[in-house]
Symmetry: C2
Subunit: 158 residues, 2 copies
DNA sequence: TATTGTTATACTCTATAACTATA
DNA sequence: TATAGTTATAGAGTATAACAATA
């Protein structure tokens, strides 16, 4: 507008977080989560609901505590998610190996929902990786897995 | 424990989000943000406070709305952050080019705090990239910048 | 005494809209 | 009428602690 603009220096180095992995991850997360939320919202899903149902469908009989751990949360985070999914008939809480344990199972309706969601997630993924070359888009999940391994498989010595 | 364990299938493919950039970013974000919070907490900082002070220090005179945009948020997110930082004497709100505008400036105390924070952030960064080779640790910020460009520099045509 | 699922609680983050002052 | 900063409000996400039932 006027010469006062000149008082704002050129972008250079804004200290501790300039160019860090940390800050890059944060920016990427904000972009990704917003796009995914917008993609899932018309179908009545949120990212955590999708993650929970996906993991249960792929791991019939998984316990709530283990599901929460796989998602990177504490035990108590599972209950409201499961209440919501069970209330919509997408999964069931059945008896587990213990009488104090519970086994989670996706219903036929839940599996159908996942099939419907799959292309939506694929489009989301294509959208966020559009600015990357195919090689880069392939390399990124590998780097991220090294940075923060998926503890879902996490079968301890047990 | 017993044969019931066999009912839980091997980890294979848990549907829509298996191996996606999206899910990898989410896992990485959770790990990074928790480590950074734990690192900054003893010094009375949080990740958003550090980001705000860093950007102000590197861009004297920046307006609150532009600071918020640089951090990927709406205008209203800036006020409580600035209240907190100003209350601790780390930055000042001064008159801007307009009488309705405000220019933000880090105080000497604020710049000192950033100097103290710098090694803490460097240690955090080293910790989260410890499982990556130097080449990978160098490549990751570039990929993330391509995925979600930093809009801080964002000098529009204006 | 430890573990599982759940509930209660509080706190943070975030988005939206409304309000005031200025342009 | 539009813009800048702020305030108010509400909602979602998360963590901690505490509870009841079972091992």
């Amino acid at each position: 507008m006027n010469d006062l603009d000149d008082e704002i220096p050129e972008p250079a180095d804004f200290g501790p977080l300039s160019g860090t992995v940390s800050y890059g991850i944060k920016r990427a997360y904000l972009r990704v989560i917003r796009d995914l939320e917008a993609s899932l919202s018309p179908l009545g899903f949120t990212p955590p609901l999708l993650a929970a149902l996906s993991i249960v469908a792929a791991t019939p009989g998984i316990a709530p505590a283990r599901l929460a751990a796989a998602m990177g949360h504490g035990r108590s985070r599972a209950a409201p998610l499961l209440d919501h999914l069970e209330g919509q008939g997408l999964l069931e809480r059945r008896a587990g190996p213990d009488r104090r344990s519970i086994g989670l199972h996706a219903t036929a309706q839940g599996r159908t929902a996942l099939r419907r969601l799959k292309p939506v997630v694929a489009e989301h993924e294509a959208r966020i990786t559009a600015s990357l070359s195919p090689a880069e888009a392939g390399a990124l999940p590998v780097l991220l897995e090294r940075l923060a391994p998926d503890n879902w498989a996490g079968r301890e010595s047990s």
